[in-house]
């Protein structure tokens, strides 16, 4: 009972915190990492809601797929930025 509540509260705090972090940190790379944190937190939240399968898929698809895509994109776009910085 209390445990559930505590777990929810904990997860909520982490989720909100990491989400806020994801949209506020300067560096895109950090933002992507923080997004990963919040996605995992959501997966954990699913577990508390008895949606284990969904949680697994969340981790697989989101963290495994989306995050990697984003990471990839960060690398690609950052390189372009860096080049510009160098040239500038």
């Amino acid at each position: 009972m209390v445990l559930d509540t505590i777990a929810f509260a904990l997860l909520a705090v982490v989720l909100v915190g990491s989400s806020l972090g994801a949209v506020t940190v300067r560096d895109v790379w950090h933002a992507a990492l923080l997004l990963g944190v919040s996605l995992v937190t959501v997966a954990a939240l699913y577990v508390t809601l008895a949606a284990e399968l969904l949680a697994a898929i969340q981790v697989l698809v989101y963290v495994g797929g989306v995050l990697i895509l984003i990471t990839f994109a960060v690398m690609l776009t950052r390189r372009a930025e860096d080049e510009e910085e160098v040239s500038a």
């Binding site: 009972m1 559930d4 509540t5 929810f8 909520a12 989720l15 909100v16 989400s19 806020l20 994801a22 949209v23 506020t24 895109v28 933002a31 992507a32 997004l35 919040s38 996605l39 959501v42 939240l45 699913y46 508390t48 809601l49 008895a50 949606a51 399968l53 969904l54 898929i57 969340q58 698809v61 989101y62 797929g65 989306v66 895509l69 984003i70 990839f72 994109a73 960060v74 690609l76 776009t77 372009a80 930025e81 510009e84």
Partner: protein, 101 residues
């Protein structure tokens, strides 16, 4: 279920708002994407929570679709962002303003 379902509602709303906040405040296209992902997740939290609440699987199934489509969206989005970077040199969404008015 001991945690009141409204709490999930509030939590998801918070995440949703954070997503909107991100979209409004950041100019980087990737952050934009990240924010959208957060909003989609907020929806999913709702769906899963109420799926649990109502005891039917509908919400969960739908959440599954959402995850899938979110992934596809990111894929397309990143493609576009890459083209954007190629054409405009930066992944800044405020950069392309040639078409206006």
């Amino acid at each position: 279920m001991t945690v009141p379902v409204e709490w999930y509602l509030v939590l998801s709303a918070a995440v949703f708002c954070i997503g909107i906040f991100g979209i409004l405040t950041r100019r980087n296209a990737l952050i934009f994407l990240i924010s959208v992902e957060l909003m989609l997740n907020a929806a999913n939290i709702n769906l899963v929570a109420f799926s649990h609440f109502y005891g039917n699987a509908t919400g969960q199934v739908f959440a599954l679709f959402t995850i899938g489509l979110a992934a596809a969206e990111v894929a397309i989005g990143i493609g576009i962002i890459l083209v954007l970077t190629r054409n405009f040199g930066e992944a800044d969404v405020t950069l392309p303003t040639e078409m206006r008015w």
